[in-house]
């Protein structure tokens, strides 16, 4: 059969059955559009979630902590008998050993002064005081939380130089959700917090009150960065500055207590190195907190995909059911012409090819239009969102490409199944005609 003749006959069929085909096309178009939107949204969400989680918990950066006793298993008296000095720390020797381990690419010790400190700040004329935990880290560990030209170097704080500090964004969340409403203060944004200055009083405590040590001094700080790393839930300052604060403590009290290392961060060469590293740390009574957060994120990702997939399957099933009904109805109307084709000597294979071409062209065209429209909307929407939101979204083009791929898959499934359905119906009809008397 000539292609021109086939196209001529298809055109004639479409003109006659246009309403039926239009409903099929609309159904497929809307379905492909929604499927693509779901696929794109799922991809964009998962990508954003992964990016954010990897920013907070880089999978190759681990936290190393001493194995701590579980106080929950101790009686109150036993727990009360323990002093702060019993709290396990990472020794300097252990840090050296960790740094020499083959799995470790880079070691970032965390240094914490051993005495109490409180922060004193004034915000909109309101004075605030709170105990704080100060941690000293290397700049490289928090480089992502600093601007490219932001200084995070040790300073002569004793001479009144401002100490650059990085604070946790959770402090801002706490301020905004608890302190600000109760004190009639406006909420803070991340941008407002940058440049905020306050004072740390060394050797002093709000909670400790009169139990605070006698010697005190003050250091002035300025917020230069914010971190979402939950392991840095403290006032984070340059490590050398923290060590100098400990030296001040020694000078003032005469007690030579070295700075403590409550934890350390290590960057491993790859995630495959984590089990070996854990094995090496065990004899040192240390443990590496593997990125369990990543596991949770992965679970969340799988849940998202499962939800999106289920939704897509339901939509696909409904679409196919609709197409099946519409096409079965149309085949019933066209039964005479299809039968006569067979009677005129047209092999079934040719009839199937004609119907496959007819249904496939309609379904494919409609699905491409639907998916294309969605991809355009998705691309535009993601770009607009990226411009509006203060958070980073994945590059729109990547989502679009993947969405297009998924949409193409849906198109193929739809086209294949619908035409398959058509073939099934036709085959059934032709067999029916052959087996029963017509006149």
């Amino acid at each position: 059969m000539r292609l021109g003749n086939a196209l001529f006959l298809l055109r004639q069929h479409w003109r006659f059955h246009w309403a039926s085909w239009a409903v099929v096309a609309l159904l497929v178009c809307v379905s492909a559009s929604v499927l693509t939107l779901i696929a794109g949204a799922d991809h964009a969400l998962r990508r954003a979630l992964r990016d954010w989680s990897q920013d907070f918990f880089p999978p190759t950066v681990l936290v190393i902590r001493p194995v701590t006793p579980e106080l929950g298993k101790l009686s109150y008296l036993a727990a009360a008998a323990m002093s702060l000095s019993h709290a396990p720390k990472i020794s300097a020797e252990a840090l050296e050993q960790i740094g020499a381990m083959p799995e470790v690419r880079r070691l970032y010790p965390v240094t914490a002064p051993t005495f109490s400190m409180k922060a004193i700040a004034t915000f909109m004329g309101d004075g605030m005081e709170t105990d704080v935990v100060v941690m000293g880290v290397d700049r490289e560990l928090i480089a992502a939380d600093l601007g490219p030209d932001t200084e995070f170097e040790p300073v002569n704080w004793r001479a009144g130089e401002m100490i650059p500090v990085v604070i946790s964004t959770y402090f801002i969340d706490l301020f905004n959700t608890l302190y600000a409403p109760s004190s009639n203060l406006p909420p803070l944004s991340a941008r407002t917090a940058l440049g905020f200055d306050f004072t740390i009083e060394l050797g002093s405590s709000v909670l400790g009150g009169p139990m605070s040590m006698g010697e005190r001094t003050r250091a002035h700080c300025v917020v230069v960065g914010l971190t979402r790393n939950p392991e840095l839930l403290a006032v984070t300052i340059p490590r050398e500055t923290a060590e100098d604060m400990q030296r001040w403590h020694t000078e003032e009290t005469g007690r030579d207590v070295p700075p403590q290392h409550p934890q350390a961060f290590v960057e491993v060469n790859s995630m495959e190195d984590i089990p070996a590293l854990e094995a090496r740390l065990a004899p040192l009574d240390l443990r590496a907190l593997s990125p369990s957060h990543m596991d949770r994120v992965s679970t969340l990702e799988r849940l998202l995909t499962l939800t999106a997939g289920s939704l897509q399957m339901v939509i696909l099933a409904l679409t196919l059911l609709g197409c099946f009904c519409l096409m079965a109805l149309q085949m019933e109307h066209r039964r005479s012409s299809l039968v006569f084709l067979h009677v005129s000597g047209v092999p079934r294979s040719t009839i199937y090819a004609l119907l496959t071409g007819e249904a496939g062209a309609v379904v494919f065209g409609a699905a491409v239009i639907g998916a294309g429209g969605s991809i355009t909307i998705l691309n535009w929407g993601l770009s607009a969102l990226a411009a509006q939101l203060p958070v980073s979204l994945p590059p729109p083009h990547l989502g679009v490409v993947l969405s297009a791929g998924l949409a193409a898959l849906c198109v193929v499934i739809l086209a294949g199944t619908v035409t398959g359905v058509a073939l099934g119906v036709v085959a059934h009809r032709l067999r029916g005609v052959g087996n029963r008397p017509v006149g």
């Binding site: 005479s336 000597g345 006149g439």
Partner: protein, 193 residues
């Protein structure tokens, strides 16, 4: 021309379908002009049918979306002929059968008798050597039935085509060289023997 007669359910249409190769027998073989068509593969049988058999149903079965000309050319459009050539042949046939004035009409605008005559033209367009006609005068008034039978006579005269006709119409039976009566799926009577 052979006329098949018999009561409803006797198997007349089934016999036509067997001869056309639309169905295969549960037992025995079907031979047409020395060819055992019941043993052919379905595709080969369909192609044989396209070359050999012209079929006209009692309900015409014209395609409502096509005009009479294209309906008549319909079987040729699947044989590899160009559309223009198929339409030319349809036009020529319609003219020869005196149906030219209907060429641009849609089937829905035709009377029952006109539809049967167009269906007959469509069955002849590929010049098959065997014409199978199922109840050509069923549900037609006398005038229309006469027109259809006149056309069948013209076709037999001009096209020299073997015809098997299912009919109860006396005029059709008179015109047939042989009359075969079926009952309960069996040949009951053949005249003349």
């Amino acid at each position: 021309m052979i006329a098949l007669t018999g009561p409803s359910g006797a198997g007349k249409t089934t016999l036509l379908h067997l001869i056309a190769g639309l169905i295969t027998p549960d037992a025995g073989t079907v031979s047409v002009d020395g060819q055992v068509i019941s043993r052919m593969a379905p595709g080969a049988r369909a192609r044989w049918r396209g070359r050999t058999v012209g079929f006209a149903y009692q309900d015409a079965r014209l395609l409502p979306q096509l005009d009479v000309r294209t309906n008549t050319a319909w079987p040729l459009l699947f044989t590899g002929k160009r559309k223009s050539e198929a339409l030319e042949r349809a036009d020529a046939l319609l003219k020869r059968l005196g149906l030219s004035e209907l060429a641009d009409h849609r089937p829905t605008t035709l009377s029952g008798g006109e539809q049967r005559r167009v269906a007959l033209a469509r069955a002849l367009v590929a010049h098959p050597p065997l014409l199978l006609i199922d109840e050509p005068t069923a549900n037609l008034d006398d005038d229309s039935a006469a027109e259809v039978l006149a056309l069948i006579a013209q076709v037999r005269r001009e096209f020299e085509v073997s015809t098997i006709l299912v009919s109860h119409h006396p005029q059709a039976l008179d015109a047939a060289e042989r009359r075969v009566r079926l009952a309960h799926g069996r040949l009951e009577e053949v005249q003349p023997v």
